[in-house]
């Protein structure tokens, strides 16, 4: 029982904290992109490619975390470990 509740909390934290970081990162970068596009519109196309590249890089850690958290939430691997423990 304890394990299930801890894993549920952990899954929430993994997704939540990851989302905080990724959102702040994307927000700062998007803001800077708009700023620089406003300053030098002729660079927009070039910067857009780089922005998407970085958006993917920033998002990656968060999405990996989400995947792991969902895996824990749906098919909890720790329960099997506990079942295998010598009594």
């Amino acid at each position: 029982m304890e394990v299930i509740s801890f894993v549920a909390l952990a899954a929430g934290l993994i997704i939540g904290l990851g989302a905080v970081g990724a959102c702040i990162g994307i927000g700062i970068m998007g803001g800077k992109y708009l700023e620089s596009a406003g300053r030098q519109p002729e660079l927009m196309g070039e910067l857009q490619t780089k922005m998407f590249l970085l958006a993917g890089l920033i998002d990656a850690a968060f999405i990996i975390g989400t995947g792991i958290a969902l895996w824990f939430a749906t098919a909890n691997p720790f329960l099997a470990q506990i079942a295998n423990l010598p009594k």
């Binding site: 590249l53 890089l57 990656a60 999405i63 990996i64 969902l70 749906t74 098919a75």
Partner: protein, 286 residues
Amino acid sequence: MAAQGTETHAPSAGEYIVHHLQHLQTGKQSAVVDFSVVNVDSVFYAVTLGVIGCWLLWLAARKATSGVPGRFQAAVEFLVEMVDSQAKGIVHSAQSRKLVAPLALTVFIWIFMMNAMDLLPVDLLPQLWHVTEPAHGLPNYMRVVPTADLSITMGLSLSVLLLCLYYNVKIKGLGGWVHELFSAPFGDKWFLYPVNFLMQLVEFVAKTVSHGMRLFGNMYAGELIFMLIALMGGAFAFTGTGIALAIGHVIAGTAWAIFHILIITLQAFIFMMLTLIYVGQAHDAH
């Protein structure tokens, strides 16, 4: 959708997910790294999609005209030009670009097609496999997204690492590269050699691991979320909650699939760009 193994008993949510995360393997995997096991499904889909991708590009090249291009030719030309301009910006040696630019194009199209397997309904191919399975007596497992298999993505990133090592030796010479391994990034002093070498090792390992893990993680998470959405629809029943779940399934499935179109393209693009960047780095002397 969640009809796997309904003859015996309806699988629970956990069982359904675990079943769908099992590869069709040649044996039982005993350790985290086990080279005696082959994930047959991943290899099959990866090779098939690679062949289809090559065939499509060949088709475009064979029918290419210098006159007004058709839609298909225009699309392929746009793609080739996009990759070529990226390669020109990152890899400065025209000699290497002859190999690296087509490589980047292949990687982009191949990974995009492998990622796009995620957009098929999660149970479509596994269900077909399940129906025909008694005929050939193979285990009833099937995963259709090759890039959601760590073996495939790490294989790709290891090949990029090998290519980087090759270009390091080719451009700088074996002596030059070994010199760089020991004298960059901090400086050419004998007491800094161990630190420099350690930093270089960490850099190569981190590059390769993150390169493969990024693609794998994105696709794995995407696949898992599709499965969870499928579970929502699988809980359909003629009750208030059951109908609400089925409607939720359609809405969530649509939303996630549309968002996923962005993710699969972006991840294929990022993998291609990082391949170019890493190979480009191999050309730069520190």
